[in-house]
Amino acid sequence: MSEPMVRAEAVHKRFGRLEVLKGISLEVKRGEVMCLLGPSGSGKSTFLRCINHLEKINSGRLFVDGELVGYRESNGKLYELRDNEITQKRSEIGVVFQQFNLFPHMTALQNVTLGPVRVKGLSRAQARDKAIELLGRVGLDDKVDTYPVALSGGQQQRVAIARALAMEPKLMLFDEPTSALDPELVGDVLDAMRRLAHEGMTMIVVTHEIGFAREVADTVVFMDEGVVVEAGKPDEVLNNPRHERTKTFLWKVL
């Protein structure tokens, strides 16, 4: 059995006196799609941000691809990683945000080529070819030279997915990717994600799309108030939840 892509051991995260994560332990295997469900404020997004070291955890251990996130451990002591080491590790993890966060002063193409050119050192031509291919895969061949303001929310989010994929990540994190979209635009984004899952990408998806979780997820995790309430196969958690809190939540969402 190979090392899982993500391993969390009793991860705690505090903001001041507010404890947002109270001991999260879970594993995401390679090629697995995990959906994180739960009411807002339950710590799903914070956990996602910890994986990418956008937030520092206060206790516990968090591993990506077998390596500690943000630290190096030797002789039982933790050493903070240097900025460039953190940067290097971040470049291997793709993130798609709820608010897209496309760079508004760049065209769709420039958004997608920025990382490969500046971080991976690809030539502009190479990056361009790859970006056009990626934008084609998310159905935006005709929007290559368009600025984000002229794109719909769904199109922006698909550019954001292409931008993350251009770095050839080994892990993709989705933070409520469809929550800011009009209902009729959600489908295209979910389609792109579904295809990605079938291609074997390891994905952690924070979402309220129960249908997507049921269909695509290998594991569904239900979080509430900073703890994992319940985790398992989609039909276990979604159809036969064992915990009262999961039942109440699903009853409200569905």
């Binding site: 940067t87 760079f103 990382g115 770095m167």
Partner: protein, 305 residues
């Protein structure tokens, strides 16, 4: 059901409204007063021979005046250059996680914004009273370059230091405001791609901050064009000091001050036009039609809060 009935009931368009407009007698009174004042000013300009318009024409392109204009432009460009570079540096320092670095930036801004520009200009002009010799080298260590203070701090350098260092403090606040206007999600997205802090600053934050930084920077440039006249107090022969020197000899201050005013107006007007084109260049991705929708989004976002 009822809606289709309603639409069927719609008859032909009613006649155009033709109402008697409200009268605004106050507007007429105000206009007459303004025109009367303007007419009396124009009459005095034309009839008062003390304006000596022929002298204005004579001195407008005088070689000394033109040299003064060039000096004013040089001072403006170089001071703004110092100001902008210093401003960006101070703004970046202000964002530093290192409290000593950000504190130093704060202190600099506090000092240079808290004392009058005129005082600062006098101060730099007299700096050689503090330092007779200027040594460049390792702090508290051996000096590498020795120089006579008076040789380095010429009037021009004192003027540049006075204007540029002061401008740096104001530009720092403008640049910082620009940084703050860029959504945090932008930096996070850039970091997630693996861009370093410096790359994020250069490729993501600065270009977007530019849109916010440029309009006030244009205003600063226009202010600087006029503020250069302050260095006339240290006998720096820019435009104002030049015309002062001329009227000290011929005792014709009014026509020569008008000459200076015309040149300042011409220079600031050109600066206005330049500002317009530069702002358009950095509006990419935020073009006018789309700006409205951005604004609407922002408003609706705020209402949703």
């Amino acid at each position: 059901m009822s809606t289709s009935e309603l639409s069927n009931e719609r008859t032909e368009r009613p006649e155009e409204i033709e109402a008697v407009p409200v009268r605004h007698p106050g507007r007429w009174v105000a206009a007459v007063i303004v025109l009367l004042i303007a007419a009396s000013i124009v009459r005095s300009i034309v009839t008062n021979s003390n304006f000596e318009w022929h002298l204005v024409g004579q001195y407008l392109f005088d070689a000394r005046v033109l040299r003064g204009v060039v000096k004013t432009l040089e001072l403006t460009v170089l001071s703004m250059l110092i100001g902008v570079i210093l401003g960006v540096l101070l703004a970046v320092m202000r964002q530093s996680p290192n409290p000593v670095v950000s504190g130093a930036s704060w202190l600099y801004i506090w000092f240079f914004r808290g004392t009058p520009l005129l005082l600062q200009i006098f101060f730099w002009f007299n700096i050689t009273a503090l330092f007779k010799r200027i040594d460049l080298g390792v702090p508290f260590g051996p000096a590498l370059i020795h120089a006579n203070g008076n040789a380095i701090i010429t009037t021009f350098v004192a003027a540049l230091l006075g204007l540029g260092l002061n401008e740096g403090a104001y530009m720092a606040e403008i640049v910082r405001g620009g940084f703050l206007a860029v959504d945090e999600g932008q930096s996070e997205a850039a970091h997630s791609l693996g861009l370093s802090r410096l790359q994020t600053m250069r490729h993501i934050v600065l270009p977007q901050a530019m849109r916010v930084i440029l309009p006030p920077t244009g205003n600063e440039t226009i202010s600087m064009l006029k503020n250069t006249s302050l260095v006339s107090v240290i006998a720096m022969s820019e435009l104002l000091y030049t015309v002062q020197q001329i009227y000290d000899v011929n005792y014709k201050p009014i026509p020569l001050l008008i000459v200076a005013a015309i040149w300042y107006l011409a220079m600031t007007s050109v600066a206005y036009v330049g500002q317009y084109f530069i702002e358009r260049r950095f509006g990419r991705g935020f073009s006018r039609a789309q700006q409205a929708t951005m604004r609407e989004r922002w408003l609706s976002f705020r209402h949703a809060q």
